[in-house]
């Protein structure tokens, strides 16, 4: 028995050294876990489940990806756990939300920053939009700015918390228009912020394009502007903020993608960076994402690294005054 065990142990050691020697060519040889820092049913969770559904295919990772939700404190709980406790062996991935985690790391009180993680690829880009209730008098961003100029600090508008994309967009709109408005951060994500707009608790709101698109289709809200560089293919008739004279760039766009902890073997990172973008491009994934009204924007590792660095610089400047 002892001999058998010893033999097995030696065999296992042989296997692991072999894996390290051949540049992790066998990776992954067991199912992979992906942490989502938001609750089940949220937009990030929903999209993460779709983009990883073909992971088990031979042309992708060849192993299924299991989603693990670690929600709490606007994503801080999950990312704290991922930065400090996750094994950097490639079998624990995480979804990221930019600008959320970058803004949180600038604000402080968390155990991560952009240097704690290695990006793999980006799957989606959900711009922030400005919405008002369907029966509102305001029909363009000019109306919003005009009202805010006449009534400083009186225009109430909702968004999903502080230091998330919605808040960044709100700060940018206020800065660009040179007005003071009352940003009301709600708890419970974009849904609660949207409910406040539809019910008339607030006069307007910043929300995700994907959610606003559905609410507008249901006839509950009007979408006045998109905080992105270009118009969205979902909303070809809605002008961007820039078109309406507000200098608001794409810093608030909610980019979603996959990352691994710092210290993950380079061979694993290379393998993931090569296969994951192709997995996002899969026709079935694209079809499901489109059906769900979730805008896709696939970026490779180098592009994401550049995007993270650019975001960090913009956000440091924007949040400096807070």
């Amino acid at each position: 028995m002892k001999k058998l065990l010893a033999g097995a142990a030696i065999g296992l050691m042989g296997l692991t050294t072999a894996a390290a020697a051949d540049g992790h060519a066998n990776y992954p040889d067991r199912p992979v876990m992906m942490v989502v820092s938001y609750g089940a049913g949220g937009a990030t969770d929903f999209q993460a489940r779709i983009v990883t559904m073909t992971a088990g295919n031979e042309d992708a990772l060849g192993m299924p990806v299991a989603i693990l939700n670690k929600p709490g404190a606007g994503g801080r709980v999950g990312w704290n756990w991922f930065a400090t406790q996750a094994d950097a062996d490639g079998y624990t991935l995480s979804a990221y939300n930019v600008p959320h985690f970058i803004a949180q790391s600038i604000k402080g009180g968390v155990e991560y920053s952009t240097s704690s993680f290695e990006p793999i690829a980006n799957w989606g880009a959900d711009p922030a939009v400005f919405v008002v209730a369907a029966d509102s008098d305001m029909n363009s961003m000019a109306d919003v700015v005009a009202f805010a100029k006449e009534n400083p600090g009186k225009l109430t508008f909702s968004g999903a918390g502080l230091f998330v994309g919605h808040h960044i967009a709100a700060l940018q709109i206020e800065k660009a228009a040179g007005v003071k408005m009352a940003y009301i951060p709600t708890k419970g994500g974009g849904a609660a912020a949207m409910k406040a707009v539809i019910a008339g608790d607030v006069m307007g709101g910043v929300n995700n394009l994907s959610d606003a698109f559905r609410a507008a289709a249901a006839g509950s809200v009007k979408i006045l502007g998109v905080a992105d560089l270009e118009r969205s293919e979902f909303l070809p008739d809605v002008p961007t903020m820039m078109e309406q004279g507000l200098e608001v760039d794409n810093a608030s766009v909610n980019f979603r993608g996959i990352m691994v902890p710092k210290g993950t073997p380079q061979g694993v990172i290379d393998k993931l960076a090569e296969t994951v973008p192709a997995m996002f491009e899969n026709a079935r994934v694209q079809k499901r994402m489109k059906a769900g009204g979730s805008p896709m924007h696939v970026m490779n590792r180098a592009e994401v690294q550049a995007m993270w660095a650019a975001r960090e610089a913009t956000l440091k400047e924007l949040l400096a005054g807070l």
């Binding site: 089940a40 404190a73 502080l162």
Partner: protein, 503 residues
């Protein structure tokens, strides 16, 4: 009456098979501590990728209805509420099981769930439009007063004295402040990374209810365990139906309270059972029996938590706003097939929408049938010797709190709160008001904070919180509730004697 037209779709062999599958698994998952309805539905979403939209939603709908009811099994037999909805069920249900009436308690809970559940789904079918308006009139100020109304029942809920009830409520509200504040990102009482996410409500529930009894069982030793083996009484289903008929007032209160509260986005599901329990107690002629294994308590709580299922989907189906975490997961199940909920849902996708709703009607009936089928067997759990039982409950408590978000932090929180509760219970405090504080604290705080921000930007605090018809009605109810509790306190002189403290 469109829904009758689509009934056929539920009864195709494949769909009906899915419905049965969903119901059976829902009951099992619901009875497993830690697997809340939201979790169960989320776990099933990947299976619906490959199904037709209607078939997928049948599976999800059946899971939702039966997990809510299945939670009663662990609440009654093991005193572990699987979800906040089942807290009130533990109060009398577990007391009944300890008396050997576990079978009766289970049968009553499933029958009451059926009554409440059917009524709730019928409301969803018939009154969708007016109900969606009702769901929207609760703004921050109204939700704040509603939470305060909930706080006023804390004192009278399952405690030896008003003061102790209020004190445990305060402990609960303090516990709720721990963690990162979601709204402003401030850290409060976070002394250890395990507390960064705050106190998870399900882990807290398991700890507060299950652990004190585990410790009590171990503390009792194994000497006397042979002496008091409980005789599990058999109970006929027909008797349970008769009992339910005799207690129709409790069933009615539960159903109505559950339906009304279930509608309010973000609040309903969690407190419907507790509010219904409290109301049933206040209107009952046998108030003193509540908490000692009284059937009205089980009936009201379970009727309420299933009555909430139908109305809780109204904001989702009509306005595309998910009113509860479970509704948010169901929204994902719809979106994956490109179906956008909203006013046109019943026009553009009538087949899917009505088949889904019909499956919830049939699911309620199946859930009741299967539930009663296992009730007699399940009740035998009470015969397990205490020391074995303690080990099983402890294992389930650890498993349940870990599985909520695969985190050991929740297990530590569960164990710490459980040990604390053991000592509190020895001094006459009770877990139910503490949990109510834990649930209502954040609702009151969040809505006051948001309301005051809106108020400061508009007309000021007093006009915002103290005017408006619904605000005034709610304030009147708060005052009435406080006066009632005070009056009952004086009348029955429920102050605590020294002997009671020592017990």
């Amino acid at each position: 009456m469109d829904f009758l037209f689509y009934f056929g779709d539920v009864f195709t062999p494949f769909n009906f098979g899915l419905l049965i599958l969903g119901t059976v698994f829902g009951l099992i998952f619901g009875a497993t501590p830690g697997l809340s309805p939201t979790m169960t539905v989320a776990l099933a979403i990947p299976f619906t990728f490959k199904l037709e939209p209607a078939a997928g939603l049948i599976l999800l709908g059946a899971l939702y209805t039966s997990t809510v009811a299945g939670g009663a099994v662990s609440a009654i037999l093991l005193r572990i509420p699987g979800a906040p909805a089942n807290i009130a069920t533990t109060l009398d249900g577990n007391a009944m099981a300890k008396k050997g009436e576990g079978a009766k308690a289970l049968q009553l809970s499933f029958l009451a769930s059926l009554v409440g559940g059917l009524f709730g789904v019928f409301l969803l079918i018939t009154l969708t439009k007016p109900l969606s308006e009702w769901a929207l009139i609760f703004g921050p100020s109204e939700l704040f007063w509603l939470a305060i109304l909930g706080v006023t029942i804390i004192g009278s809920l399952d405690s030896k004295s008003l003061v102790k009830g209020l004190l445990s409520g305060c402990i609960g509200m303090w516990l709720a402040t721990i963690g990162f504040d979601d709204m402003l990102g401030a850290q409060r009482f976070v002394f250890h990374p395990a507390l960064g996410g705050g106190i998870n409500i399900i882990a807290a529930l398991i700890g507060l209810f299950a652990i004190p009894q585990v410790i009590a069982m171990f503390a009792g030793g194994r000497i006397d365990s042979a002496a008091e083996v409980i005789k599990v009484q058999k109970h006929k289903v027909t008797d349970a139906v008769k009992e339910l008929w005799n207690r129709k007032r409790a069933a009615g209160i539960g159903t109505i309270v559950g339906s009304i509260i279930g509608l309010i986005p973000g609040v309903g599901g969690q407190i419907a059972g507790l509010v219904a329990y409290d109301q049933a107690k206040k209107f009952s002629s046998e108030k003193d029996k509540f908490g000692t294994g009284h059937s009205e308590g089980v009936i009201a709580a379970e009727a309420a938590n299933n009555a909430m299922v139908g109305p809780s989907l109204v904001p989702l189906l009509t306005l595309s706003i998910p009113g509860s975490p479970t509704a948010a997961v169901l929204l994902g199940g719809l979106l994956i097939h490109g179906i956008f909920p909203g006013p046109d849902l019943f026009i553009n996708h009538a087949d899917v929408a009505w088949t889904f709703i019909n499956s919830m009607l049939i699911g309620q009936i199946l859930m009741c049938v299967f539930g009663i089928f296992v009730a007699g067997l399940a009740a035998k759990v009470a015969q397990v010797p205490k020391h074995v039982m303690a080990a099983i409950v402890l294992a389930l408590a650890v498993f349940g709190s870990y599985s909520v978000q695969s985190s050991m932090s929740d297990v530590y929180v569960m164990a710490t709160l459980g040990v604390m509760m053991y000592f509190l219970e020895r001094f006459g405090f009770s877990a139910a008001p503490l949990v109510l504080g834990l649930i209502l604290g954040p609702i009151a705080e969040e809505n006051f904070a948001i309301g005051s921000m809106i108020a400061n930007a508009s007309d000021g605090l007093a006009p915002y919180f103290l005017t408006g018809r619904l605000n005034l009605i709610l304030i009147a109810m708060v005052i009435a509730s406080i006066v009632y509790s005070g009056w009952m306190e004086v009348r029955s002189r429920r102050y605590t004697s020294k002997e009671e403290i020592m017990q």
